[in-house]
């Protein structure tokens, strides 16, 4: 699915686990072995993506891990747009796209996925706790 949506390679040497509501976490086999021995486990590994039907919505970390291999469905932001993105504000696309989700880049940094709306805007999927305050 990653190949189809973003032209990206997979996480071949790591382990992907499904953690409810279509959430995908990335971890290592050692981490799973240790978790099996522990009590009161709340979570393990890193939340990297959510499956929404046939779509893969990458988290900020998921997009950062794949940063160098994402080849399609991405947009480049200016510094001002990057700040707006991290505030959770929508960004107007320069040109239309058929993709439902795109990954945002600012310079060489990946800022996660945004949902493309029919009005030609991208709505960043930045969780509230990670949004920066408007200046």
């Amino acid at each position: 699915m990653l190949e189809r949506h973003y032209g990206a390679e997979d996480f071949s040497d790591k382990v992907l686990i499904q953690a409810g509501e279509g959430k995908i976490r990335l971890t290592t086999s050692d981490t799973i072995k240790v978790a099996e021995k522990m009590r009161g486990v709340q979570s393990l590994g890193l939340y990297i993506a959510k499956l929404e039907g046939q779509e893969v919505v990458l988290s900020i970390e998921g997009s950062q891990l794949l940063c160098n291999s994402i080849k399609k469905n991405w947009i480049e932001l200016t510094e001002e747009q990057a700040r707006l993105w991290m505030e959770g504000a929508p960004i107007q696309l320069d040109k239309p796209t058929a993709a439902r989700y795109v990954v945002a880049f600012y310079k060489r940094l990946c800022l996660g996925c945004g949902r493309v709306s029919a009005d030609g805007k991208v709505y960043p999927q930045v969780p509230k706790w990670r949004r920066i305050q408007r200046e």
Partner: protein
């Protein structure tokens, strides 16, 4: 500048501590702690992050005792910066980076952070492991675990297990399991009074004594989770010998295989552990523990003990 109010008990404590410059300490309580950051190399190359920050006008100076730590010289709101939210930097006190430097995690090791929230040291350990090995980050408080989870996520850590459990019970399922353990114990926080004046106003011998019993239980628990040959760091951000030297003195008495080791960190001004305090005479080995006072670096005050498990006597 407002004047800080300190309890009568605290005044008595401070004047009972040998080698402490009480006037400097009280003065430091009224100044903000110097801002500092750790560059998170799990997300980007150190040099790239430094260049991004410098382009944005952030003036930095290397902290000598920690590999990726920098003082922030100018007054800037780091917590609202893109680089902070993306996890390229972690805002962390300069001296609070010291315990993990002393623990010295290596890729491939299994490490327990027994009182982990909010996750500054957990993410610092993760950085040292470089994705190889495993960290178990535990805390007893569910609200604090939310902050821990957020920070572990923001820093891009893949090899961490977050658990919610009473740290005193850990040996029931993890006895002798870990290569290294960090016990950054809950304390009366006399090393970070400038962040929380309530710590000074409400400090009492009774509260400190009560906490020391919990601290001792956590230290024993952490020690029992070590493999033979493993290393534990016990740290607090307080100055009371009751929560520091007393705890370690009891630990090495109860667990004879516990041996204290010396602590060396370049550029960090440290005092030796206290051997006599009030009616207590501690084991001379406790000289190997270290104390860092807030006035030494305009940073937090800390106590650290490095303990090696030389055999199995638990």
């Amino acid at each position: 500048m407002s004047t800080i109010k300190i309890s009568e008990d605290l005044r008595n404590l401070l004047y009972s501590l040998p080698e402490v410059d009480v006037e400097s300490l009280l003065e430091s309580y009224q100044k903000p702690i110097r801002q500092s950051i750790r560059v998170n190399t799990l997300k980007a190359r150190e040099e790239d992050v430094l260049n991004i920050l410098r382009e944005k006008g952030v003036e930095l100076e290397k902290i000598p005792w920690t590999r990726y730590g920098y003082w922030v010289i100018n007054d800037i709101n780091l917590s609202n910066m893109l680089e902070h939210m993306l996890g390229l930097i972690y805002i962390q006190g300069a001296v609070s980076m010291a315990p993990v430097e002393v623990l010295s995690p290596k890729p491939g090791e299994f490490i327990l952070d027994l009182c982990a929230a909010p996750g500054s040291k957990t993410t610092q350990i993760a950085q040292a492991l470089q994705g190889e090995g495993v960290i178990v980050a535990n805390d007893v408080n569910v609200k604090r675990i939310r902050a821990l989870s957020s920070n572990v996520q923001r820093c891009g850590v893949i090899n961490c297990v977050i658990t919610q459990a009473d740290g005193r019970k850990f040996p029931l399922w993890a006895k002798g399991f870990f290569d290294k353990v960090l016990v950054d114990a809950p304390c009366t926080s006399l090393g970070i009074v400038s962040k929380d004046w309530g710590a000074a106003k409400n400090w009492s011998f009774r509260a400190s004594e009560r906490l020391s019993k919990l601290q001792l239980s956590l230290a024993i628990s952490g020690f029992d989770c070590l493999k033979v040959g493993g290393v534990m760091i016990y740290a607090t951000c307080t100055l009371s010998p009751q929560e520091n030297e007393w705890v370690i003195d009891r630990l090495i008495t109860i667990r004879p295989s516990a041996r204290l080791k010396s602590i060396k960190l370049e550029g960090l001004k440290m005092s030796k552990g206290i051997l006599e305090w009030q009616h207590n005479k501690f084991n001379p080995e406790l000289e190997q523990c270290v104390r860092v006072y807030p006035y030494e670096h305009e940073a937090e005050g800390f106590f650290m003990a490095k303990i090696v498990k030389e055999g199995d006597d638990s």
